[in-house]
Symmetry: C2
């Protein structure tokens, strides 16, 4: 049943696994188009629950709750890629799930993801699988230093990864990531980090937003800028890569492809996020259609829109205590302020963002 | 307590009286800014209830329900001007209510509204109060034909009004509007109908959106166009009128002033809507800030934004069975489709709207 492609009518209910700010913005976009949303997550008080028509608070592995959820919705999707693939598969036997749960199985495992990308002939940083402590030394010998050891599963915002520099002790790095199955990646001296947010509709149409340049701070996205400072040829190639990946997955919905741009303009795929993405938040104010609406259109079986950018755009994340800056941002002409309704401020937590659109 | 001016912090709860599409779009704008909304209305299944954090389904005169509502919110506002002024006043003794309920008392009564406008030295169509059947003939003699008989209360979308042309029987007109207290207005041969949507903040700042030209069909707004086809001088005067009215009310929030533009460029105020307004829907996609966000900013005690229009804008209402056109609109480049989640299609019912922004 996971291959069923539903076409929703207004008033239908979209189920969303996960209830963070991505879910919140998906709910708001779905509401614009006349849909109701039912959010499923372990957190009863959460950004998406505030605006959802209904909320199921249960563990992702609670099959009884998933049964009831499936019966109450017309299609399911996710805002969070670490939903257990088994839960998504369980759901997909009862209700259409988009994108297909098979995509999760690939993107939840860095090794599977890298192999998937490499099989498409798309360059990535050199990598080697490291399944146990003993495999790290030969891997380092092959990849060279500096290198980055990354857990295969559950990494985000720099979590689950550690650099191995010239003098570093590999054993400490192995312990640092918790002694889990990893990959060892060459550290690539990239010039910039960019991403492509792409939507693929049920009819196979792919619509990409313009390539976005991303600046991180402490491994967390701080600023996105569009257009990215790169050659038109590199930008075209980045879009082609995203298009290729979306098509190969038979993807339905929005995904993001993160890439490194090398000094010579060459591109390496860093990772794939099978969901709407922080680097696409600028599209709410900076484009004629948002990544969230594109995702809703896709999972609803509706035609995608052709995004038109409204100017040069900058998106600034409000992280941790930076949330207090909202007062300043409210007074800055043209600044669009987005707050996620999170009550607890924690260091590194994404609390909101601001978008600015400038004439190009 | 109604004069208390709250300054909300993100996470606070805004209470909204009324639960139609205006409430829905207010909830969506409030959510963007990190607020929760609690909607109060007699209709449990309604456009705003779909997206609200909480919903109280009760009659507007249910004081026990209003008590509980007041205790659960930080500020109250309305999306619907026919909320009983007594209910708003009752609430205002328990929680700040913005705009002030006194405004409702004026705008709910066409006679009080006309007198309020006239007292500001702002022109309106000539009018006379008609309190009983016997007053209609002398009123007609004074105003002349054609004239329009309008009930003082509860009129919208052409309801509660009837024209009295050359051959028409005044008694039939009186019966036609239900024999209620009315005003008789001269029919003015206007060139166009326009509106100004204005926001006034707690600090007294007024920010107007550009004058909007409105085309009605069967007394229901069909198309809004911005900018309105009128001289810069007339447009400036329209903004000045809205500013004067907002200030005189000591208004907090968004209001709309509907005006007639005469052939010589002169302006007559037709009516005042003390709420966000259908003719301001274009601002969601066509301006740097929407009327809904301006209203939320105002009632939250936050600074207003300075709206910048993104181009020439057209807003088309989807009325009754026109909702079926959403499929067509979804494929039209640059068309932003908004559906209100109403399950029942009825003739004359506003089901959604479409906004198109063009380069100017």
């Amino acid at each position: 049943m996971s291959t069923a492609k539903p076409v929703l009518t207004p008033g239908a209910t979209i189920g969303i696994l996960g209830s963070g700010q991505l879910g919140r913005m998906l709910v708001l976009a779905a509401a614009r188009l006349g849909f109701k949303c039912h959010v499923f997550s372990p957190d009863p008080e959460s950004p998406a629950a505030d605006v959802a028509h209904r909320m199921t608070s249960a563990d992702y592995s609670d099959t009884q709750a998933l049964e009831r959820f499936a019966a109450a919705i017309d299609v399911a999707t996710y805002e969070f890629e670490n939903v257990p693939a088994t839960s998504a598969t369980f759901l997909s036997k009862r209700v259409p799930v988009l994108p297909d749960p098979n995509v999760l199985a690939t993107t939840q495992d860095r090794l599977a993801e890298k192999n998937f990308v490499a099989a498409l002939g798309i360059p990535t940083a050199p990598f080697v699988a490291v399944s146990e402590a003993g495999e790290l030394s030969p891997a380092l010998a092959k990849i060279g230093r500096p290198a980055v050891l990354k857990t295969r599963r559950f990494g985000y915002d720099g979590k689950g990864q550690t650099a191995i520099g010239d003098g570093a002790d590999p054993a400490a790095a192995w312990d640092g990531v918790g002694g889990q199955a990893c990959i060892l990646e060459a550290f690539v001296p990239f010039a910039r980090e960019v991403s492509v947010v792409a939507a693929r509709g049920q009819d196979g149409t792919v619509e990409c937003f313009d390539v976005t340049e991303n600046e991180h701070r402490d491994h967390i996205l701080k600023i996105s800028r569009v257009p990215a400072a790169m050659s038109a040829t590199s930008a075209q190639e980045a879009l082609r890569i995203a298009d290729t990946i979306a098509n190969k997955f038979g993807y339905v919905g929005v995904l993001a492809v993160e890439l490194f741009v090398m000094r010579d303009g060459g591109l390496l795929v860093n990772e794939i996020a099978p969901r709407v993405h922080n680097s696409g938040h600028w599209t709410i104010d900076g484009a004629s259609v948002s990544q969230f609406e594109q995702h809703v259109r896709a999972v609803a079986g509706w035609p995608l829109a052709k995004p038109v950018r409204r100017g040069r755009v900058e998106m600034i994340n409000l992280i941790g205590s930076e949330i207090e800056d909202y007062r300043k941002w409210l007074t800055i002409p043209g600044a669009a302020v987005h707050l996620y309704g999170k009550t607890q401020v924690r260091p590194g937590r994404k609390m909101g963002h601001v978008t600015r659109v400038f004439a190009e």
